[in-house]
Amino acid sequence: MRLRVLLPAALAAVLAAGAVFGDQFGDAEAGEKVFGQCTGCHEIGDNARDRIGPHLNGIFGRKAAAHDGYRYSKSMQRAGKDGLIWTAETLDAYLENPRALVSKTRMSFRGVKDAQDRANLLAYMRDFSDNPADIPEAEPTARGTDHDVDPAILALEGDPEFGEYLASECLTCHQSDGSADGIPSITLWPTEDFVIAMYAYKRKLRPHPVMQMMAGRLNDEEIAALAAYFKDLE
């Protein structure tokens, strides 16, 4: 397989064999230590309050940007409206690389790159979500899934001329001048952000059905071509 990531079909197959994860559940105690990376901005547990970031009690099963009283970024609000729900899987992807899931999130955090660290962290955070219905046991906290896009794919040089042709399909909705009323701007993105976002749609981690469909049929070369074209479009 060219991708280190699990593509949807592969992921489904892995989920079907859920027992595999039996011994891979995260360790909440170890996760508490990992949470040390988060405490600069987030609180969790008794008396947790919103600080730079929202407190994280009850995060599992909640819709993105749905915690009252905290002012979320526009991008996070849009993700919530599009239907992003915080599950073990989406939190895992977000913690690994926040901007893969939410392009302009205010969470300026490089991500927890180690899958086991993330599993432990999620096991810890799960202890502070009090509605068990939101945390189905069948959904393993730790999955050992690596969502990062293969560096070989990120390194692909896109053909801007091909990208210009492919981009014409995007520009029916997204505007070439970069304005963003109702539909986000996709111009002047760093190529890596663009590629990572498209893979998040391909894998249906990002929730939007039109984008899942459009990205779903683009191959590596096409995504690279689009990224190469849009990065300079003014």
Binding site: G83, T172, Q175, M213, G216, R217
Partner: protein, 422 residues
């Protein structure tokens, strides 16, 4: 300026007929020439992309009678009071000024495919190397018993944007209290499959505020329609008891109208109506028929490049084409135009031709902030444009999601009209 231009091109036409060697001719006259008929979602997009991407290497003429083009898409939102008529109007100034397209506001009245010329109502002919037809729809004569085009003021179709849409809105505003709005819905295939049902929703929205005891009757020759579950859920939620949809099984296809008496007869039962929106069966815009590229009501095309099956130098876009699985929509026409533009440029210059990719999404508004959508991707096969993958909004979605969908549709409107008109 336009006149001189036309005169010059007219001279070229004579030479074209004599030489009858297009490739050589194109060179002998300098730039290759593309004529596009119809300035809507297909034609305006094709003209813009051919001109823009060829960077002046191709001479592009766009023939469109209207100086201000009112989009048919979003016209229902005008009926519902969500848009002003001016929001739907666009002109061709940018296409002429920024992209160097020769915009001719005239009717194309004939196509001579042997001589490769287009005749204009105002006189003169335009020669072409490649011709793009994107004429939209016309109505099938005699499709609704008692109705023809001469009745379109008494019983508007409002299925082409502009004055018809304004007329229908004025008639709705003038309905007596508790009056009846009737729609005669068209048979498949027709422009904008969810369009009649979004219209019913928007009319209901307007009447609910101004005339809440009014009734809406829909006579439909079909047994089912696009986004039916979503619309029917929405009608029950927002307009309970207001809308009576009479489908095929209840005689909705057996209708006649009397525009003088203002009556609608459904399956033998006569009803007095105050407004009657007759949307007859459709066919390709007439110029496609005159060009001899239609078979039956529509013009068959090759999926790979939208070229006519009757003539490799003629392309047919949008509603007028018979291409396979794509719905007849502005989005589809815009998508097809880009594939066509890429192929036309490749044929006339040495630009790369990339494989065809098509897509479509149709948004509909049911009530304030209650938007739904359906969409699909498509590919070219030997036989037709074939569906690859698709999605549709679900019933019971959250209010947030429906609002986001509506806001997205507004973004799309801005996006596609910029993509068409520059």
């Amino acid at each position: 300026m336009t006149l001189n231009r036309r005169m010059f091109l007219g001279t070229g036409a004579a030479a074209a007929a004599v030489l009858n060697a297009p490739a050589v001719l194109a060179e002998s006259h300098g730039k290759p020439r593309v004529v596009v008929i119809g300035g809507g979602a297909g034609g305006a997009t094709a003209a813009r992309y051919i001109a823009k991407d060829s960077k002046g290497a191709i001479d592009v003429t766009l023939i469109e009678p209207s100086r201000t083009y009112f989009t048919c898409f979003f016209s229902n939102l005008y009926l519902g009071g969500f848009k002003e008529i001016d929001d739907l109007g666009h002109n061709y100034g940018t296409l002429a000024a920024k992209y160097g397209i020769n915009v001719v506001h005239d009717w194309a009245v004939d196509v001579d495919r042997d001589a490769k010329t287009v005749s204009l109502a105002g006189g003169g002919t335009l020669p072409y190397d490649k011709l793009v037809l994107s004429p939209g729809i016309d109505f099938v004569e005699g499709a609704v018993d008692g109705w023809d085009l001469s009745a379109q003021n008494a019983m508007p179709h409002a299925y082409k944007g502009g004055s018809q849409t304004e007329l229908l809105k004025a008639q709705i505003a003038g309905m007596p209290e508790g009056g009846t709005f009737a729609m005669v819905a068209p048979p498949n295939p027709f422009r904008c499959p969810p369009g009649p049902y979004e219209r019913v929703s928007m009319v209901a929205h307007a009447l609910k505020a101004s005339n809440p005891t009014a009734k809406i009757i829909v006579a439909d020759p079909k047994g089912k329609f696009s986004k039916q579950a979503l619309f029917q859920e929405g009608w029950a939620n927002h307009y309970e008891g207001m809308i009576d949809w009479i489908g095929e099984d209840f005689g909705g296809g057996n209708v006649s109208v009397d525009p003088n008496a203002m009556t609608l007869t459904i399956d033998g039962e006569v009803t007095d109506v105050d407004v009657c929106n007759v949307i007859p069966a459709m066919k390709a815009g007439r110029i496609a028929e005159m060009a001899g590229v239609t078979e039956g009501n529509w013009a068959p095309v090759n999926a790979a490049d939208m070229s006519s099956k009757a003539d490799a130098d003629v392309y047919v876009l949008g509603d007028a084409s018979n291409q396979g699985d794509m719905p007849k929509s502005g989005f589809s026409a815009n998508s097809q135009a880009k594939v066509c533009a890429n192929a036309v440029r490749g044929a006339l210059t040495d630009s790369k031709v990339f494989p065809a990719k098509f897509s479509n999404t149709c948004w509909s508004l049911i009530d304030t902030n209650d938007g739904v959508k359906v969409g699909a991707t498509y590919e070219a096969t030997e036989e037709k444009i074939a569906k690859v993958d698709g999605f549709i909004s679900a019933t019971g979605e959250s209010a947030d999601l429906r609002q986001a969908t509506y806001e997205e549709s507004e973004g799309w409107y801005t996006g596609i009209t910029s993509d068409m008109f520059g």
